[in-house]
C-alpha cells in the first residue's frame, strides 16, 4: 500500500480512537498491521538519526529530559511522549506528527522503548545512539529474570551504530561481561563514589556486597554527578565541573538528568552549545506521574510512580513523609505486573512515624497487609480509586503525596483532571 494512504488511514483511525476516548496504541497497532515498514521508512530520513532510551526505571522522565536538551540545541525532535513505549506506541505518535504525505518535520527521533519491544524494534530500525539506564527487578512475570532484561539491553547496544551511553554504576550494565563484547563506541555516566549509597540496586537489597565483577573498562568519556544538595547538583565532564539548580525532585531523577546530559553531549559533539544545554537542564520538570506536583484544594499533591521494588524504595527515600499525608494505590493490571511479591521487597519503615492515610487500588488489601507486617498505621483502606481519592483530598490542611502503580496513576490523573489543571497527555 502506498505511503499517503497508510498515513491517511492511520490518521483516521487515530481520530476515531480519540473520539472514543480510547488508548494511544490502537491506531499504531492498525498501521503496524497494514504497513509493517511504516516506522522504519518514516524515521529513515532524519538527519540526526534515531535515539533509543531503555532500562527498567526512569525511561519516561529521561526521554523528556533528552528531548528538552536537544531542543535547546535547535533540533526539531520527534518523540513518543505518551509513555506508550511499545512499537505501536511509536507508530501512533508518528501518526500524530507526520503530514499527509507521511513526512516528519523533525531532525532527530528520541524514543523511549520498553526493553522487550526494543529488541525487535532495533532489528528494524538500528538506532544511531542509545542510552541504557538500569536493570532492576521489574515485571518478572513478563521477562522471567533480571539477567534476561540485561541481555535485552545488550541487544539494543549491539544494534546501535554511532555510540552508546551507559550507566557505569548499574551492576549489570556496568559489568565486565556486558561491556566487553560491544564494539560500538561507549560513553558512561554515573555518580561519584560518595553518592552511590543513595542508589541502592536490587543486589544491595539483602546484602552489602554485589556479586558481579565491575568492569574495569575505561570509557572514552564520562559524565558524573559529583554531589547533590537538595536540588543543587554538581556535574562534571570533560575536565570541567558545573553546578546547576534543578527543578527536578529526587535523587534518581537527578541521575537520569546526568545520563541525559551525557547523551546530549555525545549527539551534539563539537556543535554543543553548552550554555543552552545547561539552561534547559535547569528548567526540566519531571514527566507526568514521576514526581509531578499538582495543586488540589490549595495544597500541593505529588504523584510518584512506583512499579518495582527499587523504584518504590527510591521513591520512599527521595521524598520525606514529614508533614505530608500519604496515599498508596496498587493495581495489578498487565501493565503493572500481576505478581504482588515485589511489595515484600520494599521496606516501609520510613512511613512509621507519619503512617499511611489511604490505601487503594485493586490490590489495596495486599498493600495494607504489607504495611501491617511493618507495623504501620493505616487510616483507611478503599480499593475503589475514585472514592479513595475524594476522601484523601477532602482534607485541605496538608500537602499530599500518592505513590501509585502505572494504571492507578492513569486513573488518578483522569480523576484529578476534573478538579485541577493536569497536563493533557495524548
Amino acid at each position: 500500500m502506498s505511503k499517503p494512504y497508510v498515513t491517511l488511514l492511520g490518521k483516521t483511525v487515530r481520530y476515531i480512537a480519540r473520539l472514543r476516548g480510547g488508548g494511544s496504541a490502537l491506531p499504531g497497532l492498525f498501521v503496524e498491521k497494514i504497513d509493517p515498514d511504516f516506522i522504519r521508512r518514516t524515521l529513515a530520513d532524519l538527519t540526526h538519526g534515531v535515539v533509543v532510551i531503555s532500562g527498567t526505571n526512569g525511561k519516561t522522565t529521561t526521554t523528556k529530559m533528552v528531548v528538552e536538551l536537544l531542543e535547546s540545541q535547535g533540533l526539531r525532535v520527534f518523540t513518543n511522549r505518551t509513555g506508550s513505549n511499545f512499537a505501536r506506541g511509536v507508530a501512533a505518535a508518528l501518526l500524530g506528527e507526520v503530514n499527509h504525505k507521511g513526512e516528519l518535520a523533525a531532525d532527530i527521533a528520541v524514543l523511549e522503548l520498553d526493553e522487550a519491544h526494543a529488541v525487535n524494534f532495533v532489528k528494524n530500525v538500528p538506532p544511531t545512539h542509545s542510552l541504557l539506564l538500569n536493570v532492576m527487578r521489574d515485571q518478572l512475570d513478563r521477562f522471567g529474570e533480571i539477567d534476561t532484561t540485561a541481555r535485552m539491553l545488550h541487544a539494543i547496544a549491539s544494534a546501535t551504530t554511532g555510540g552508546v551511553v551507559l550507566n557505569r554504576d548499574d551492576p549489570r550494565i556496568g559489568a565486565a561481561a556486558f561491556v566487553q563484547s560491544l564494539d560500538v563506541p561507549l560513553r558512561s555516566y554515573g555518580t561519584h563514589a560518595s553518592l552511590q549509597r543513595l542508589f541502592p540496586s536490587d543486589d544491595d537489597l539483602r546484602s552489602d556486597d554485589s556479586a558481579l565483577p565491575k568492569s574495569a573498562h575505561l570509557y572514552a568519556d564520562d559524565t558524573s554527578l559529583e554531589s547533590l544538595d537538595g536540588q543543587t547538583a554538581t556535574i562534571s565532564y570533560g575536565g570541567k565541573t558545573t553546578t546547576v539548580n534543578l527543578k527536578l525532585n529526587g535523587i534518581y531523577n537527578t541521575l537520569n538528568a546526568v545520563g541525559a546530559v551525557a547523551l546530549c553531549r555525545l549527539i551534539m559533539g563539537d556543535n554543543l552549545q553548552e550554555a543552552a544545554m545547561i539552561e534547559a537542564l535547569q528548567n526540566v520538570t519531571p514527566a507526568f506521574g514521576r514526581g509531578e506536583t499538582l495543586t488540589v484544594g490549595g495544597q500541593p499533591l505529588e504523584l510518584v510512580l512506583v512499579k518495582n521494588p527499587s523504584g518504590f524504595r527510591l521513591g520512599l527515600s527521595s521524598f520525606s513523609p514529614d508533614g505530608y499525608k500519604t496515599m498508596i494505590a496498587i493495581n495489578d493490571n498487565y501493565a503493572d505486573g500481576r505478581d504482588m511479591s515485589w511489595l515484600w521487597d520494599v521496606d516501609f519503615n520510613s512511613l512509621q512515624r507519619s503512617g499511611v492515610s489511604t490505601v487503594s487500588g485493586v490490590r489495596a488489601f495486599d498493600m495494607a497487609l504489607r504495611l501491617q507486617y511493618d507495623e504501620i498505621e493505616i487510616a483507611k483502606v478503599e480499593p475503589q480509586l475514585t472514592t479513595a481519592l475524594r476522601h484523601f483530598i477532602s482534607d485541605t490542611n496538608q500537602p499530599k503525596r500518592i505513590f501509585c502503580t502505572y494504571t492507578a496513576m492513569l486513573a488518578l490523573r483522569r480523576e484529578l483532571a476534573k478538579i485541577t489543571d493536569v497536563e493533557h497527555i495524548s
Binding site: 500481576r338 511479591s341 515484600w344 495494607a368 497487609l369 504489607r370 507486617y373
Partner: protein, 241 residues
C-alpha cells in the same frame, strides 16, 4: 517477669536466593512469632558461612539461574545437616529454586544435571515454557492456598511423596498432574510466592506451632487480626491468571 521464650529463625541463602519477595516469608514468621509472644533470633546462612548449631525454623527462597549456580555446591555441603534437621522435626519452608534443589536433581534445557540434596524425593526438568500466573491450590491441612507462580522447571514427585496441595487454578508442580508443592515431615516446599505466607497465615502459624512445640512442648497462640489477609485472599481469588 519471666524471660521471653526465643525461637531461632534461619534464612538460608538470602543473599543469592531472594528474587520473589522471599523476605516476606521470613518477615511474616518473625512478626507472627513476636505477636504470639516469642522473642525471635533472626539469622542468615549464606555461601561459605558456618551452619548454626541451634535452629528452630528454616526458610529459603528462589533465585536467578546465576544465584542457583553460586549456591548449589555450598548447599550440597550442608545437605546432610538439613536432612537430619528435617528428620528431627524442624519445620522448613522452601520456595521455587530451593524447592528444586531440595530434590534429587534439576535437569537443565541442555541436558546438564544439577545435583540436589535429596531431602525431597522429587526431580525437576527444565520445561519448554514458563508457568506463570496467579494460582490457587487446595490442601486438606490448610484449605485454599493462594499465590503466584513463575517457574520453567517442571517438578515430578515420587509415588511416596505427598504434594502440599491440589491445583484449583494454575499450573502447579509440572502443569500435568495437578499437584503443587510437597509436604514431607514438617518441610513445606512450594512454587508459590506472592509472598506465600502473608496471604496464607494458616501455613505460617503451622510452621510456628511445630517449631514452638518441638522446643517448648506446647504452643499457646494469641489471636492475630488477619482481616487484611482475608480480604487480600478474596481479591486474589478473583484476579485473572
Amino acid at each position: 517477669m519471666t524471660e521471653k521464650k526465643t525461637i531461632t529463625l534461619l534464612q538460608i541463602y538470602p543473599r543469592d536466593m531472594n528474587i520473589y519477595g522471599d523476605w516476606g516469608n521470613a518477615l511474616v514468621l518473625q512478626r507472627r512469632l513476636q505477636w504470639h509472644g516469642y522473642h525471635v533470633n533472626l539469622i542468615e546462612y549464606n555461601k561459605g558461612d558456618t551452619f548454626p548449631a541451634d535452629v528452630d525454623i528454616i526458610v529459603g527462597g528462589g533465585g536467578q539461574d546465576s544465584g542457583q549456580d553460586i549456591i548449589q555446591n555450598d548447599l550440597l555441603t550442608i545437605g546432610d545437616r538439613l536432612k537430619q534437621l528435617a528428620q528431627d522435626g524442624v519445620p522448613m519452608l522452601v520456595i521455587c529454586g530451593l524447592y528444586q534443589l531440595f530434590g534429587n536433581f534439576f535437569k537443565t534445557q541442555d541436558g546438564h544435571t544439577i545435583k540436589g540434596i535429596g531431602l525431597l524425593d522429587i526431580e525437576t526438568h527444565a520445561g519448554p515454557e514458563r508457568l506463570a500466573g496467579n494460582i490457587t491450590t487446595h490442601s486438606t491441612l490448610f484449605g485454599d492456598i493462594i499465590g503466584y507462580e513463575n517457574h520453567s522447571g517442571q517438578t515430578f514427585l515420587s509415588t511416596e511423596t505427598t504434594p502440599l496441595g491440589t491445583v484449583v487454578k494454575g499450573a502447579g508442580n509440572n502443569g500435568q498432574d495437578e499437584t503443587e508443592g510437597v509436604l514431607h515431615h514438617y518441610v513445606i516446599a512450594s512454587y508459590l510466592h506472592g509472598s506465600l505466607l502473608p496471604k496464607n497465615p494458616a501455613i505460617a502459624d503451622w510452621l510456628i506451632e511445630k517449631a514452638v512445640t518441638r522446643k517448648y512442648g506446647e504452643f499457646i497462640p494469641t489471636v492475630i487480626d488477619d482481616r487484611f489477609a482475608v480480604e487480600a485472599r478474596d481479591v486474589a481469588l478473583k484476579r485473572p491468571r
